[in-house]
Symmetry: C2
Subunit: 422 residues, 2 copies
């Protein structure tokens, strides 16, 4: 198996504010090619350090990918460092010069003299066209494999990896197939998940199993390596099928890039159903998640962020007596909110959230972190009570939003009355 | 100035899903000590690679910080690698052994034999107690400065850096002060910002100026290094004051950790004012941003996510004729939405958003990316029209949300009628 390392260039990437995310995208493509990333580094804009890092990397790794430092300014040193590390010259490419001149003509802006730096290629390098910017990438065959220079702006980098780098690297690496299978899961904590599925996946080193978590959202990722797609798929079935069975309906999708609101939107569309939302403690997050999806106006009718009691009474028509008797954070209030939202918007379904996100509020019976989640639909209304650890307002809001969307997902999975748009 | 490098250990950090964020926290503390981070790396769980990386790092940098790989399993190789790189032995610490045994007794769990690995220290290392976990950190004085080993779980790492590492590193580095000044800015693009302020900051190498951007949100960060706090502050004034003047009211705060909704909340509270929101294309994001802040129920009254025309008509009482004549995406609709939200919620102010977030929709006059933003208040109603590049729904929604909050911020900065809660 071929090894790769990534060197991201830029002093700004060494500040406490910035993290290098470009390398994640590059890693994905390296993995697709069956290349193993064994090391990544961030180096500041410093010629001696950069040159030393490149020359060391060339000695030990088959593929070296440099990210950033291809801009027009004096700080952009990647070209110089590669030339120095390989003992080659930088040469002005007349072709790249005219590409640059044309580009500036197109956008009708004068070209500063500095920009000409971007027309210099390391001796023996192929230029990789940049569809979204001025700096071309560069690709060089090396004794051990290849070296690539990619621009730092993510939009430029991504297009260049897809259109230029991938097919150039393919012949450099031996044919090997990596296939992945993903499960996105909600409604279970990370350690409970691990206790459940570790007995299955720890028996295998191939596929490699990774568990990732963010609030209310878990991700199990299997990566199988083999000579052929069929072999890799067989490995994924062997480990993935028992995992799928153990997780049951906690798996909301096997599509790694489909968020929970995407699944909910797809199910609503399938049932020709619509939804409305009445939110208190989540303050608009459920609505905003649902409307994150393009085309959500097909099924999302409206949201009511009724943050104070007066709003619950006036906008939704919840009775003052109900709130007085049970409080606005109660099963009764959640039920009334969901039903009122459904009636007002004339939607097939409606969700409601009411709870104590913190930092203050709460009662002995319902301490901070308690949230009531309602769903009203053609088969009636259901309310669940969830309790999250207190002390982190944002976390409570995120978990409650996720649980609310999941409540709708599970309701949509039940047989529902003819699924007519209301 | 002393140099540092960070080596994060763990194969999972080389996947396309994971990014090392621990190093950001460590960087912050290194910078506080006046130490410059010059390189960071991620290395997988591989003993030869790790040993080589540590031995190289010890040769070139004053301070070497290792993160992760201190767990109890065979994959946790940091201790072994440091011992090998320094040519020292690993020794069982009887003190650490009893710390471990006590810890497991406390949580009433049997201690697996593997856990004893965590009681081994590199010859000459001081153990750094771990307040939140079982693996102690280790600190070793080296020829050039020091080497530290920190646990990977963020909660364990953070406490250890604060309580153990910081005071141990202090005597290793020469006294030097780093002071920072930050500007958070909205309402201007990154390249326009740079054109405006680069003539000021490029004249100085100290402070170091960094410009960071996320959609609709810019961050200018000055970092001054000097012998004393006074000298560092003087440098920050010398460069920061002209920058502040050039940016004017586009700076919404100089508090690096205060988001725009925090500033808006602070201003609303100061004026004893309240706010309501009527959203269309932003789908609940403005409400959710406003309610992100703890205590926002003091000023946020309610939100209306009127996504379809029927909702605008029924929930807000916008007239069907107005929408028929001007469309729901128009100056008139934004004005009516803001005024209706203000009247319904009886708030001091109300915001409205209506536009085409994409991917479809739009007209010749108002193509995808066009958004009307309204603000209604005691001094009347104002609507602005903004146009963002089309093609990225999420970006249009984020930019419009930011611009809507900024519109309220600027309105709150104007003299307003006595500021009575309505």
């Amino acid at each position: 198996m071929k090894d790769a390392e990534i060197i991201a260039v830029g002093t700004e990437l060494l500040t406490p504010q910035r993290v290098d995310t470009n390398s994640l995208f590059v890693t994905e493509y390296l993995n697709l090619l069956g290349v193993d990333l064994v090391r990544k580094q961030v180096i500041g804009d410093d010629l001696p350090r950069l040159t030393e890092a490149i020359s060391t990397a060339l000695k030990r790794s088959h593929i070296v990918v440099l990210i950033g430092g291809l801009g027009p300014t004096e700080d952009d040193l990647t070209r110089e460092a590669v030339a120095a590390a390989m003992g080659r010259k930088l040469m002005l490419s007349l072709e790249q010069e005219s590409v640059l001149i044309n580009r500036f003509r197109q956008i009708n802006r004068p070209m500063a003299k500095n920009n000409l730096r971007q027309a210099y290629l390391v001796e023996g390098a192929e230029a990789m066209p940049n569809a979204n910017g001025t700096a071309p990438g560069q690709f060089i065959y090396t004794d051990r494999g290849a070296l690539a220079m990619l621009p730092g702006p993510p939009r430029e980098l991504k297009t260049m990896v897809e259109r230029e780098l991938y097919h150039r690297l393919r012949p450099v690496v031996p044919p090997q197939v990596i296939r992945v299978r993903s499960f996105r899961i909600t409604g279970i904590g990370e350690s409970d998940l691990d206790t459940l599925i570790a007995p299955v996946y720890t028996k295998y080193t191939n596929p490699v199993t990774t568990v990732l978590s963010s609030p209310g959202d878990l991700f199990v990722h299997l990566k199988a390596t083999a000579q052929t797609e069929d072999q890799a798929d067989a490995l994924l079935r062997e480990v993935g099928n028992p995992i799928a069975e153990l997780l049951g309906d906690r798996v909301y999708t096997e599509n790694a890039s489909e968020p929970l609101e995407g699944v909910v939107g797809r199910l609503l569309r399938k049932h020709h159903a619509t939804v409305a939302v009445a939110e208190s403690c989540t303050g608009g997050l459920v609505s905003s998640r649902l409307t994150d999806q393009g085309g959500s106006s097909d099924y999302f009718l409206g949201g009511y962020v009724t943050y104070c009691d007066a709003q619950k009474i006036e906008t939704l028509g919840i009775s003052r007596e109900l709130i007085g008797k049970h409080s606005a954070v109660s099963e009764e209030a959640a039920k009334a909110m969901a039903e009122a939202a459904r009636n007002k918007a004339r939607s097939t379904f409606a969700l409601s959230t009411t709870g104590y996100a913190g930092p203050s509020g709460g009662t002995d019976f319902d301490p901070v972190g308690t949230v009531y989640l309602g769903v009203a639909g053609p088969n009636g209304t259901r309310v669940i009570r969830v309790r999250y650890g207190s002390g982190d307002r944002l976390r409570v809001r995120l978990l409650a939003t996720q649980a609310s969307l999941d409540l709708l997902r599970k309701t949509l999975a039940e047989p529902i009355a003819a699924g007519l748009r209301r």
